[in-house]
Symmetry: C2
Subunit: 90 residues, 2 copies
DNA sequence: TTAGTTTATCGTTCATAGGCGATGAACGAT
DNA sequence: ATCGTTCATCGCCTATGAACGATAAACTAA
């Protein structure tokens, strides 16, 4: 399956902020984590981080699973792989 | 040489618009071209395309050489390679 | 010199992004 | 049932983005 230019641009846009790049790098390293953990890493409020995570989720590069009061975030590996392929073939 | 997160985010941001993604794809295909050629491809005004090219240039992924009244744009291959490497190692 | 070509920039308008605090919703533990 | 925890969302504000037309700047050709 091929990504559309719009989907691609949406992922690029989601990664177009230093904090969101770092969040994704962090998620790749530790595989999965909750919002609060990310809030502790960055000098921004909980609402700001939650907003960043929402943008990443909407782009498709990150997914979140609600478990009780917590939400576990992780990188969508299939989407990441498609994204990597696109860049490779660019 | 390693790109900073800020530089990376700037490239991502520059690519965070469908038109700019298509411009970069086009530049990679035809190697180099002038602004007017790109204007003819897209349904946007000359000033809008010029602005998109400026954003791409400022991110570093594209460079432009002025020759007389024309400006020849092309993708900076070194930057593109660094960018590719980053994604690959992500 | 004048006219035409090509591109960049300016100023404007409307929409979206980025940050925050406050609040609400969902849940677990007491 | 109540309290504390965790996260999402709302409302607000300021800043930036996206598009346009108009104009300026740089050059070429007649």
């Amino acid at each position: 399956m091929q990504m559309t230019t719009e989907q691609l641009a949406k992922i690029f846009k989601a990664l177009g902020h230093p904090t969101r790049v770092k969040i994704v790098e962090h998620l790749i390293h530790i595989n999965t984590c909750v919002c609060g953990e990310i809030v502790n890493i960055f000098p921004f409020s909980q609402s700001t981080i939650s907003q960043h995570l929402k943008i990443l989720k909407e782009s498709g590069i990150v997914c979140g699973e609600v478990e009780g009061p917590k939400t576990y975030f992780c990188v969508d590996k299939a989407v990441l792989e498609e994204f990597r392929e696109y860049i490779k073939n660019l």
